[in-house]
Structures are given as C-alpha cells and as structure tokens.
C-alpha cells in the first residue's frame, strides 16, 4: 500500500508536470515544423508559373500602403519617448550629446524592425488569418481547388512575398519617423546643439546597423505572414473557428517575433559583418 502511495505521489507530483512540459514542447516543435513545410510549399510558387504579380501588388498595397499612417504615428512617438528616456539617463552622467546616437542605434537595430513587425502582424497578419479562415469555412478555398487553381499559389505565396517586401520598407519609414521624433525632442524640446547631434549620430551609426534592421524586418515579415496564413488556411468550424484562428495567428506571430529576435540578431550580425 505504502509502495502504491509512493508511486502515486511520484506520478502526480513529478511525472505529470514533466509529461505536460514534454507534450507542449513536442506540440510547439511539431507546429513550427508544419508552418515551415507549409510556407516552403507556398514559396516554391515564387519561382514557378503561374506567377501572380497582380495579387502580389494587391497585397503589397494592403500590407504596405494601408499601414503607412499607423507606422508613421507609432514611429514618431517611439522616437520621442525613447530619446526622452535616453536624455534623462544620460543627463545624469553629463553625456546628453549621446542621446542622438543612443536613440539611433536602438531604433535602427531593434525598435524599428521589432515594433514594425509587431504592428504589421497585428494589423495585416490578423486580416490575413481572418480572410483565409472565412474563405475556408465558406468553401471558397475548396472552390479554388476544384477549379484547378492551387490555393497555395493563388492565396498564400503572394501574401508571404508581399509581407517579405513590405515589412522592411515599412521599417525604413518607421526608422525615419522615429529619428524625426528623436530630432524634435533633442533640438526643439530639450535644446541640444543641432551640429553636435548630427555629428555624433553620424559618427556612431554605421550603415551596417541599418542593414541589420532591414534584414531582420524581412525575416519578421516572413514569420508573421507564414504563421497567420497557416492558421487561417487550416481554420475549422464556423465563425468561432475564424475568430480562434485569427487570435492564434496574431498571438503566435507576435510571440515568435520577440522570441526569434535574439537568434536572428545573432545570425544577421554575422551575415552583416561578413558583407
């Protein structure tokens, strides 16, 4: 009896949590694998006919053009607040002149690509998942298939390509607006010397920093579009299924952007140095 109790205690307190962790880890890895296979299957259509230029342009307009205003607004205020915080910190050690380069490095390397990735995955990624989910539950994807049109060629490949192109472009817009915010704060709010601001920023900022951010942004574009299209494409059930797919798509892509940022930064820095 005692042995049995001990066995039960061991199972409940030690084995079960380990099992749960193991199961969820396997689940995450297999889901990641499914997304990779799905996006590779779609991306092969970038190089095979029929090419969908008009669809790519349509999605570029949706992902890129219609996101510009929100990117400008968030970029400007990110630059303002980041520079303000940097100024408070650097003033303590009498290094206010380094506010420009500190802000620039943070924006070009990290804040620009990461925040743009997060904003676009919420706006465009969510819309992609919802659109594809609705098409799935209303049999529009089945209709494409029975008409002899490959849905991955027609629906998925153009969306992923448009996201990979649009995200770095939007990041460049974000970077510009954030630097404008930094400039406004440094010169017109706290009254730093304009010549020193530009001189120090140019001295510390390397074009490789800008390239690093833009390459990362393209990878984030690939990530969020692959995850959101995957979730939308595999929607099950009715309206509730569409809502769930959209929610999961947005949350998964946002979390993955933040998690993979570290690893991508390491890889991209190696690539940029090599370049």
């Amino acid at each position: 009896m005692e042995k049995f109790r001990r066995g039960l205690f061991y199972k409940n307190s030690i084995q079960e949590p380990i099992e749960k962790i193991g199961k969820s880890t396997i689940g995450i890895i297999s889901s990641f694998g499914e997304v990779v296979v799905f996006s590779l299957e779609a991306m092969k259509w970038w190089f095979r006919p029929p090419h969908r230029f008009s669809e790519v342009v349509k999605h570029l307009e949706f992902v890129g053009n219609r996101s510009i205003s929100i990117i400008c607004l968030t970029g400007l205020f990110t630059g303002l607040v980041f520079a303000f915080q940097a100024w408070i910190g650097l003033k303590i050690v009498n290094a206010e002149n380094l506010v420009g380069p500190t802000s620039a490095l943070g924006i070009f390397r990290e804040l620009g690509p990461v925040l743009t990735g997060l904003i676009i995955s919420a706006r465009a990624g969510g819309a992609m998942a919802a659109r594809l989910g609705t098409m799935r539950v209303t049999e529009q994807i089945d209709a494409l298939e029975v008409m002899g049109v490959n849905p991955k060629n027609y629906l998925i490949a153009p969306r992923i390509l448009a996201s990979v192109i649009a995200t770095p472009l939007l990041t460049a817009v974000f970077d510009f607006m954030a630097m404008l915010g930094t400039y406004i704060l440094c010169i017109h709010v706290v009254g730093l010397d304009e010549a020193i601001f530009w001189n120090k920023t140019q001295f510390w900022l390397d074009p490789k920093d800008i390239n690093e951010g833009l390459i990362k942004a393209a990878v984030f574009g690939l990530f969020f579009s692959s995850i959101c299209t995957f979730k939308g494409y595999h929607t099950k059930g009715g309206a509730a299924g569409v809502g769930e797919a959209t929610n999961r798509g947005v949350v998964s892509s946002m979390v993955s952007i933040i998690v993979v940022d570290y690893f991508i930064t390491k890889i991209v820095r190696m690539v940029v140095k090599w370049m």
Partner: protein, 255 residues
C-alpha cells in the same frame, strides 16, 4: 481499339476513416453512368459529402479506389489532381462564390485561369452567356455576392461551375436552406443544364427525396458507409428493403 468507358465514376471497395477507428465509408461500391443524372441520398452522417470529396480527390481513401473517367485518382500527384479537377464543375451547398469579386468576375475567374488563349472580350461574352443561361438578369452582373438572394447565388454558382464546359457536374446539397419555390427553380435549372449539354454526367447529393426521384435517372441510397440500393426511382418505389421503404415513405409523405 480503345473503348470509351461506360462509367464516369467507379468506386471500388472504398473505405475511409478519419480517426483510424470508425469508418465513414465502409467498403463502398458504386458505378455512376456517363451522361446520366445520378442522385445520392441517405440519412445525415452516412458519408455523402465525404464520397463527393473522394470523387474530387480532396480526400484520400484509407483503402479502395476511385476511378474518374478511366483515371485512378490515387495515382495522380497533387499538381496533376488539381489539373484533373478541371473536368469537374461543382455547385457547392452555399455556392462558395468569391465574396470580393462581382458576379461576372466570379464566372470569369475559371476562364481567366484556364482559357488564356481567349481574348478578354470573348471571355466576357462567354461569362455573360453562362449567366443568361442560368436565368440571371444582366442588372445583377456587377453586384457582389453579398447583394444577391440565395437562389441568385446558386444560379451564379452554377454559371461558374459550367464555365469550362465540364464533363462531370457535381451538386452538393443544392437546395438545402432554400424555400420550396426556389428549390423547384434550382431543380429545373439542374435538369435544363443537363439537357443542354449532351454527354454531361450530373451527380447530385441531396436530402430532398422528392427532387432526387424527380430529376435523377438513377438514385443511390447510402447507409452505414455503403450503398444500400442503387437503381432507377421506380426500383426504389418497388423496393422491399425495410429501410428504403421507410425512407421513401417519409420522403413522399413530406413532399
């Protein structure tokens, strides 16, 4: 000398299980004659829609085979299946129109995809002819599907299904959710479409027994993943099989 196959679709010992335990289709055998209208009836959950998806190669069988126009579906690679599906036209339960395209663009879509040899003006006139054929007024051509009634959406869905002159036309519950008058209109539309296209094979999955007997040259009744009875409507009315008798009586009584 090649003899043209007599059957449009041949199903041999088809079994399908989604979870490895229960079989939705359990050793089904069915031969669908070319150029005829075959209706498939049965209680809910007997595998009618799953069978239809097997015809289209949207689902792979657990075992057994589906042969369409002499081609075994399981022998085709994914890309080949997608091309092969051009031989089919499908009218979905809710028409499955592309909701971001106008009525005319929905019908133009398959033509733009597969008839690149056609000039745009000719394509447009072809699409308009199909829409007129199914009785849609030209004033609706530029509307979005969301602006149409259920009956009109079915008409557009049918116009799109026949756009590429398919050899087999599949209807998945074409009258579900429609009122009796529209139901009769859709049934007549199916008959008219079939009549005007010699050699066309029509397969209709339906719950509507009255329609199944009225428009079907042959009727197949499914039960527990198998074909319980296959024959002409008269064979069904004369059947002594208890389940068929009950099913027919309910249907006749209801209608």
């Amino acid at each position: 000398m090649d003899v043209e196959p007599k059957y449009a679709i041949r199903v041999s010992d088809l079994r399908k299980s989604f979870d490895g335990k229960e079989y939705v289709l359990n050793g089904m055998n069915l031969n669908i004659l070319k150029g005829k209208i075959t209706t498939i009836i049965g209680f809910s959950g007997t595998g009618k829609s799953v069978l239809l998806k097997h015809f289209l190669g949207l689902i792979k069988p657990t075992s057994g085979a589906v042969e369409v126009l002499g081609t075994k579906m399981s022998d085709l690679e994914e890309d080949a299946i997608i091309n092969f599906r051009r031989k089919f036209g499908v009218l979905f339960q809710n028409a499955a129109l592309f909701d971001d395209m106008s009525v005319i663009d929905n019908v133009l879509f398959p033509l733009r995809e597969h008839r690149k040899d056609m000039k745009p003006r000719l394509m447009r006139s072809e699409a308009e002819t199909r829409l007129r054929l199914v009785g849609l007024d030209p004033k609706h051509f530029k509307k979005l599907p969301s602006e149409l009634s259920g009956g009109m959406r079915k008409r557009v869905g049918l116009a799109r299904a026949i756009a590429l002159d398919p050899e087999i036309l599949l209807y998945d519950e074409p009258t579900t959710g429609l009122d009796p008058i529209i139901t009769e209109m859709v049934d007549n539309l199916i008959l008219e479409t079939h009549k005007h296209r010699p050699g066309l094979t029509s397969v209709i999955v339906t719950h509507d027994l009255y329609a199944a007997f009225r428009i079907g040259d042959y009727v197949a009744m499914l039960n527990e993943g198998k074909v319980l009875l296959y024959g002409t409507p008269q064979d069904f009315l004369n059947s002594e099989v208890d389940l068929v008798k009950r099913f027919v009586q309910k249907g006749v009584h209801k209608n």
